[in-house]
Symmetry: C2
Subunit: 180 residues, 2 copies
């Protein structure tokens, strides 16, 4: 483990900020993913993006998910779902930080305790509201990513197993620093 | 698209059952994932596994998630969570079926309408109850996978965005066939 940048220093992507900790990444990946479509949003830069799914939902922006025609036959039935779990690949996020300082927290946070896209496998997850399906295009509310983000998976959201209304994230509920 | 097996026929892995539809997979994957740990369960074969997260929860079996020491510094704070989202790689699942016949349904189901591990990217998701963290080992209830399944990610479960108690999967709520 090192607190120094693992690759070239000096760029935004390799700089380790005070409070952050980077590790050396494994030499090779263990399995491969297919990009099965793209998420189209109005957000072209990070500063425009909602900072998380909650903010995206509050804005209420309808975004679209375009499924590659290869996989379109896997879609029927999805239109009967009120909500979906969407997995997408945050392809611009670094993967080597085990402690990070997210832009809206004051201090370092261990990676598995937060929902930031910066993680060993930059797979983001959003529970979205499905508004409409037109052919290979889904209209949804609740994604928080840049335009053209690669899609990995779509799953039906089952309240019976996916909904835990009384779940608690202790460090977040008890935090003293204000959200910026 | 074809209803014929895409590779060698005659094995369990390539046989397309009546009602199933396979497509040719892309020639290459688009990104790589790291296996960041392993999920240890008592289940060594598919017939022993709970058929889904609900059945796993009903059994109440405590399973463990072993994080690779490389990533252990990313864990602090996780112990304050009552529930976690766990992503894992169903490495024995085929990826080419767009319509499949899950073992407990009577008929073909389009892949994105079900939670089966058979999908283009075999990433499974479970909302688990966290019982205990000991060093790099998490004790949880709610995974439904074989022993030694590769781990991809751990995320805190935020009820504010992840819990949708009134979500509905129409085809499932309205189905007439009995669950076996």
């Amino acid at each position: 483990m090192t607190t120094n940048p693992p690759k070239s220093a000096g760029t935004d992507e390799s700089h380790v900020r005070p409070g952050e900790v980077a590790v050396a990444l494994p030499a090779e990946t263990d399995a491969g993913v297919y990009f099965i479509g793209r998420i189209r949003t109005p957000w072209q830069s990070r500063k425009d993006c909602p900072r998380n799914v909650r903010e995206s939902r509050e804005r209420g922006t309808v975004c679209t998910i375009e499924i590659d025609p290869r996989w379109q036959a896997a879609l029927p039935g999805v239109e009967t779902c009120s909500h979906l779990i969407v997995l997408y690949w945050m392809d611009r996020s670094r993967r080597d930080l085990v402690v990070q300082v997210p832009r809206h927290y004051e201090q370092g946070r261990p990676t598995f305790s937060v929902r930031s896209p910066v993680r060993p496998n930059p797979i983001a997850l959003a529970v979205v509201e499905l508004r409409k399906v037109e052919g290979n295009v889904l209209h949804v509310v609740g994604v928080d990513c840049l335009d053209n983000t690669p899609l990995l998976d779509i799953k039906p959201y089952f309240a019976s197993t996916d909904s835990v209304p009384d779940a608690r994230v202790g460090w977040h509920a008890d935090r003293e620093e204000p959200l910026k």
